[in-house]
Amino acid sequence: MSEVFPTSLVSLLAVLVPIVGGLIVFGAGRWERRVPALAVVAGASLATLAMAVFMVRQVSHGIEQELVLFQLVPPIGIVLRVDAMGALFAVTIAALFALALAHAVGYLPDDRRQWRFHGFALTSLGCMIGVSLAANLVTLLLFYELFSLLAWPLIVHERTPAAFRAGIKYLVYILSGGALIFAGVVLVYWLAGSVAFVPGGVLSQSAPAGMPQAGLIGAWCLLVAGFGVKAALMPLHGWVPDAHPAAPAPFSAVLSGVMVAAGVFAILRVLLEIFGPALLVELGVLPWLGAFAGFAVVAGAMLAVPEDDLKRRLAYSTISQMAYVSLAASLLHPTALGGALVHVTHHAFFKGGLFFCAGLILAVTGLRRISRMRGLGWRMPWTAGTLTLLALAMTGMPPLSGFVGKWTLGTGMAQAGGFLHLAVMLIGSLLAALYLWPVVYRIWQRPEQGDPLHAAIDQGERCGPRGWMLFAVLAAGLVTIALGVAAGSPGFPLELARIAADALLGASAWE
């Protein structure tokens, strides 16, 4: 059993270092010097990654840490806790952000405004780490609101009218979601007298037996709907397909890879550590969650199939892929939950990588539409090769990372007897093949003579360095391979997910 150590500053530093780094970078536009600003960006993001890795190592050795900072609304404090689920998500966030920041150095024009991007990205990195390490709902709400607001300037960074339209839509959705969450948190505190995340559920444990059923269901609806906006749970997904194409590609990667996942992560916290399995079964709300999630899996994927804009197609794919997690959570089975957690991390890298590819293609050729990408692979083999690899990973090809997540998810669902869930997930995977295969097919088609695309590439090759972008693309590909091949290694997502699932749902039937 894991011990809880009272004080360790690592969790606080992991939140503060990127925020302070980001604030420093904001001034970089005025320095007019590239190297020191880059050094701050790299230093802050790599230091955060290192701290996240350190936390993962501690958790896999069975050490949990808790740090009480200050009281926000007495007696509720801001508390950071490093547990398996949080550490896994934190390391995912930190690693994907590090890649995205590298990609952004190449992707964004080299002017003063790029430091604004890096500044906001670093501060939202800090707040997202805060989300993953939050030990109670108020802490979660604090960091959740802050990173949601900090994401806005990143979405509208390119300042096109379309970007501003998408930005407004994002804000309306997210702020409304935040308002629902606030009401939900208030209700939970009123009912339970505590908002701490406790394995088994604080509402199941600390509340008197005669709690009003309506209040509990109300709190559940408010919280799940509020976080569901961020988690792109259909029908609350409206901002997703607009925000992704509008944002600069490195930030689209972060949006899809970890920001939507933050919504899902929060839903998991609410389900398992606020309500708790026993209460959820008693309330009978899980089939509803399963139904909504299953609908999102299928409908999101079906919307992705006819979409011609590559980033939009990927955005719809995110809606579908992230709904796997809620679908699995609705079964309350440890293996399925473990699979869901693994899937979150694996998805971050292959989906992030796909967005990196889309960004690189866009930067070099100016192409967004899949139908015009014919023959691209022969001109940009590394990018297209990685894109193919990542697409294969997403469809669940062994031994890539996508397979591990889906296999664990699938076995978990089967063990829990959720064969309908399993069928829905398999349909989602088939549809994933259906919307990704045309992309792969199109880019590897033989080019036609006199295609304007190639003139564009020839120009693009002269128009500046793309090493940073290519680095991010290849790194995402390598991570995807590594997470698949070495999935069973200690300290890897599978092990952490197992620890987390054991802690949350009791001993599992892992083999």
Partner: protein
């Protein structure tokens, strides 16, 4: 019963600014001496009021009395937790506003009149905060009305005179209502002192009680800009910015809500009001005012008009919280006096700095101001986030306790009001921030040699201090010597609770 100590400090706190006013009038045109006396008095009063904090937290009550005005009604001061809280807020903000005003008003006409009456306003405000009984409170309250008038019409043009007249008509009528209410109260109970659990009891006639409630609440409601008695406040935005700060944060509207709190907690008392059920109606009125005023704010094109409507909405938070009659909501009501004051005064300071720095007064002219005045607009952003109720900012503390209070009072509807109001606040603040930071600087301003607007550091420093305090109020609620602990004590005394609030 809390121990009462005879102490000179309440009197000195009132006299400090009174003396300052006299000195400022005496030195007339010497701007250096005017600045010296204003700052010295502000500093002395600040120290005097804060020096009473530790004692008040320990449950001590400082009193100082003169002879009787009416049989059984003395003219005197009594410093309890609620009064001290109000005095702390206004004397702290007076220091900042004085610094700001010295820079903002430089070169204006009749400055001795301005600073003299400014000091008088603060003097009367502290008198209101420390008043031992309703009559003392009323005297200072009416004096405040009179002293504010020359400030509102400082510009001496048509609009300023009209606004001043409107203000005077509204507030004098309000004063008349209070006087009538006081008369009925005096004949019902034979006393006007503000007791900890109220001076009225259920034995009095119902009609009389209703009359007292309506007269007093409507009377104080005028200054509290309680809808539908609010019309003077948006009109008064023609006044110079430091006066707006005085109206919206330091003194005037706060005196109104403070009066309402006194009526609810110390004249009627919680138990009686709960039996009578009048407060439910007041809560409903305030709840709808929160939403309606916010919708109106959304439609305003002038920065200061938007701020004024936001004040009307925010003050109704306090009235709503007080009318819920539960301890947690009372805590929200009291703490929001400080939260609203610091956030709103930041915004008014910013509006004034923008006006001085770039000459802009309208929301749609803000494009690019964030580039020209980054620190100022950053402070504005912080207070906007506070009004939206983003955690870590002062506004969240209010929103949280008010929502908890609503649940405690069994009126979950008001949690919905909080949620809607937070969204409406986002809808009218975020576009301004968007304009300032994300719209490009218009072409002709780019060529302006004074591209980076030059504003006196004496105007920027108060802005930054207030904004920092907004965060401190939001994040440091549990730190020692923060207003929160005093508000908590005041809420406990109002409900006669021994244990700390949960």
């Amino acid at each position: 019963m809390s121990p009462e100590l005879v102490d000179l400090r309440p009197l000195l706190a009132v006299l400090a600014s009174l003396f300052c006013a006299g000195a400022v009038f005496a030195v007339r045109h010497s701007s250096r001496w005017r600045a010296f006396w204003s700052l010295a008095a502000a500093g002395i009063k600040f120290a005097l009021v804060w020096s009473m904090l530790p004692g008040s937290l320990a449950g001590k009550v400082y009193v100082y009395q003169f002879g009787e005005l009416l049989p059984g009604v003395a003219f005197g001061f009594r410093v309890d937790a609620l009064g001290l809280f109000f005095a702390l807020v206004s004397s702290t903000l007076w220091v900042l506003t004085t610094v700001y005003a010295l820079a903002y008003m430089r070169g204006s006409h009749s400055l001795h009149r301005f600073f003299g009456f400014f000091a008088l306003c603060i003097s009367t405000t502290v008198g209101i905060a420390f008043a031992e009984n309703l009559l003392t409170l009323f005297v200072f309250y009416e004096l405040l009305t009179v002293c504010t008038y020359p400030l509102i019409m400082h510009d001496e043009n048509l609009a300023a005179r009209r606004a001043g007249r409107k203000y005077l008509v509204y507030t004098l009528c309000g004063g008349g209502l209070i006087l009538a209410g006081m008369v009925v109260l005096y004949f019902t109970t034979g006393t006007l002192s503000l007791a900890e659990s109220g001076i009225l009891d259920a034995s009095a006639e119902r009609a009389g009680l209703l009359a007292i409630f309506l007269l007093l609440i409507a009377g104080f409601g005028v200054k509290a800009a309680l809808m539908p008695l609010h019309a003077w406040l948006p009109a008064a935005m023609v006044a110079p910015t430091p006066v707006s700060a005085l109206l919206h944060a330091v003194a005037v509207v706060k005196a109104g809500v403070f009066g309402i709190l006194r009526v609810i907690y110390n004249v009627f008392g919680i138990d009686l009001l709960r039996d009578l059920g009048y407060a439910d109606w007041l809560a409903m009125l305030a709840g709808s005012a929160i939403v309606i005023a916010s919708v109106n704010a959304l439609r305003q094109k002038k920065i200061k008009a938007r701020l004024a409507w936001s004040t009307i909405s925010q003050l109704s938070y306090i009235v709503l919280a007080a009318a819920l009659l539960v301890p947690l909501a009372a805590l929200a009501a009291i703490i929001h006096i400080a939260n609203q004051a610091f956030a709103k005064i930041t915004m008014f300071f910013v509006a004034g700095a923008i006006e001085r720095g770039t000459g802009k007064t309208r929301v749609d002219e803000l494009a690019g101001v964030g580039r020209r005045m980054p620190w100022t607009m950053a402070a504005f952003t912080i207070s906007s986030l506070s009004f939206m109720g983003v955690p870590l900012m002062a506004g969240f503390v209010t929103k949280w306790y008010l929502s908890m209070g609503a649940l405690q009072a069994g009126a979950g509807l008001y949690v919905g009001v909080m949620v809607v109001s937070g969204l409406l606040n986002a809808a009218y603040w975020l576009p301004m921030i968007y304009q300032a930071f994300f719209q490009p600087v218009p072409g002709d301003e780019k060529r302006d040699p004074q591209h980076r607007a030059r504003v006196s550091p004496m105007m920027i420093a108060p802005v930054l201090i207030c904004a920092a305090y907004v965060i401190l109020l939001g994040a440091g609620a549990s730190a020692p010597a923060m207003p929160f602990s005093l508000a908590e004590a005041a809420a406990r005394f109002a409900f006669e609770l021994e244990v700390p609030l949960e």
